[in-house]
């Protein structure tokens, strides 16, 4: 059994820890590689918990979180990444979107 990654208060989100990705390019790639069903399942599970997650994370220094909180933080960024897929496009990719290979995020 793999070790729990998230703070225990957020046990229910553990199945989605694959969305805990630090870089935008990783999050975008996962969104584009996922089925709409997987995206929807992540969205449906994480959205109702987001307020509680933020309340938890806001108590911690943004630049120096413990690792379990960081997983949670990255998952929250992923929720922002997929929000439009669920709420606007009903599709993993932007409809009539640009070739992602030529629309490149510049990250440190």
């Amino acid at each position: 059994m793999t070790a729990q990654k998230l703070p225990s208060a957020f046990d229910d989100l553990e199945p989605f820890v694959g969305w805990a990705l630090a870089k935008e390019q990783e999050r975008t790639s996962k969104r584009l590689a996922s089925s709409m069903e997987d995206i929807q399942e992540f969205y449906d599970s994480m959205s109702p918990r987001l307020e509680a997650v933020m309340e938890y994370l806001n108590q911690l220094p943004l630049d120096n979180m413990p690792l379990d909180a960081e997983w949670l933080f990255h998952m929250s960024l992923s929720l922002m990444e997929v929000a439009n897929a669920v709420e606007m496009f009903h599709n993993p990719a932007v409809i009539n979107g640009f070739d992602v290979k030529r629309f490149v995020p510049v990250e440190d």
């Binding site: 307020e51 933020m54 994370l57 979180m65 929250s76 922002m80 439009n84 932007v94 409809i95 979107g97």
Partner: protein
């Protein structure tokens, strides 16, 4: 047939801009591309980054500018001064710096024969110097480029004798934005887009809101839709010497999606931070190839810059940068991420259109562009282009 402009707000305010169709030729023609090199890109003030990209003495950024037929180097000297140079070694013309950014320990060395320059561009060391013939080292520093800074934005001008100082060039834009505190915000997101469209096709497409309810019907359908719930209407348009700004607001009863509501909630801060906006959303076109977008944030305003770098008639590097007040907590950072992803996704909708528009225009099936009143700023941009093309 007389055009009645009484009920057209912007035509009435700016009758000199005209109301007729505008030629599409400059957007697709190789001749205009060449003309632009000389008449625009080697004469106008061009934005290359911000001072925060070169915070320490010895820091530099270098950029190959196909549109200018030049490679430029911007360096912060040991004395703290930001200077621009042609990125060209005085020996035999090699490009001095080959990376896009870096930091030198007081000295830049050419890879070819190790000629070295200090952070003021002076030639300080020549390998095997005694084997040269009366080398005038003092005259062989890097060739300087006029460089100046406005509110942290670095501008260069390749004209050996620019007509106007940067401040004069920016004119009314500088009056509006001076003291705006742009240095209080930090780069939060950046994208580089390789788009197969003319730089002006791209800029024109971004320089209006008319397209929002249609092209962005999935993403931001109600944004700035102030006319009968159907069409956008601008709050204000101001035309300056070379530049323009349009300003807009959204209807009070606009309803965003569920995650936007959460992002708004998390973005509430104890302090307010505002940029010198005219309305909730301002879009500046800073001639020739820069746009500056100011956004009303929940507590903290944010801004974006676009720089369109032409490499060919039908290829442009569109650099997009988003600047936010540094997040104080995870909630604010997550809120910023929401707005960044939203902007990114709708700019993807736009970028696709740029390429399709270019294909359409390049066919020459249509020779003219038709603009409505709410697109007056695009008309004006074309008028400024014509003025620069015609200058001796």
């Amino acid at each position: 047939m007389q055009t009645v402009i009484d009920d057209k707000r912007w035509a009435k305010k700016y009758p000199e801009v005209g109301t007729g169709p505008v030629s599409a030729e400059p957007l697709i023609s190789q001749e205009y591309f060449e003309l632009e090199r000389e008449k625009i890109f080697r004469r106008a003030w061009l934005n290359i980054g911000r001072v925060e990209e070169i915070p320490n003495p010895g820091d530099y950024i270098a950029k190959d500018l196909v549109a200018c037929n030049a490679s430029v180097l911007i360096m912060r000297g040991k004395d703290g001064v930001v200077r621009g140079f042609h990125n060209v070694c005085s020996h035999r013309g090699n490009k001095l710096v080959w990376d896009e950014k870096g930091s030198c320990n007081g000295s830049l060395t050419c890879g070819f024969h190790a000629w070295s320059y200090n952070t003021k561009g002076e030639l300080t060391w020549v390998s095997d110097e005694e084997n040269f013939f009366d080398l005038p080292k003092r005259d062989l520093g890097l060739s300087p480029i006029h460089t100046d800074v406005f509110e942290g934005f670095i501008f260069i001008n390749l004209d050996p004798k620019p007509n106007e100082s940067l401040r004069e060039y920016l004119g009314g834009v500088a009056d509006q934005l001076e003291g705006g505190g742009f240095s209080e915000l930090a780069l939060m997101g950046q994208y580089k887009i390789d788009e197969h469209a003319n730089w002006k096709v791209a800029l024109d497409a971004q320089n209006e809101l008319y397209h929002i309810p249609f092209q962005h019907r999935r993403t931001i359908p109600q944004f700035c839709v102030m006319k009968d719930g159907k069409y956008t209407r601008l709050l204000d348009v101001r035309l300056f010497n070379h530049h323009s700004v349009y300003s807009s607001e959204s209807p009070d009863d606009r309803v965003g999606p569920a995650t936007e509501k959460l992002a708004v909630q998390f973005s509430v801060a104890e302090t307010e931070y505002r940029l010198p906006r005219i309305g909730p959303f301002d879009f500046y076109t800073i001639f020739p190839n820069m746009a500056l977008l100011l956004f009303q944030g929940v507590s903290h305003d944010y801004y974006m810059t676009y720089n369109f770098w032409p490499n060919a008639v039908n290829q442009t590097d569109w650099d997009i940068k988003l600047y936010c007040r540094p997040a104080e907590n995870a909630g604010q950072r997550v809120g910023q991420e929401y707005f960044k992803c939203l902007l990114r996704d709708l700019l993807q909708e736009d970028a696709t259109a740029h390429e399709q528009i270019h294909i359409g225009l390049a066919s020459r099936a249509k020779k003219e562009l038709y603009f409505q009143d709410e697109e007056v700023q695009i008309r004006y941009f074309h008028k400024v282009l014509e003025r620069f093309y015609a200058e001796a």
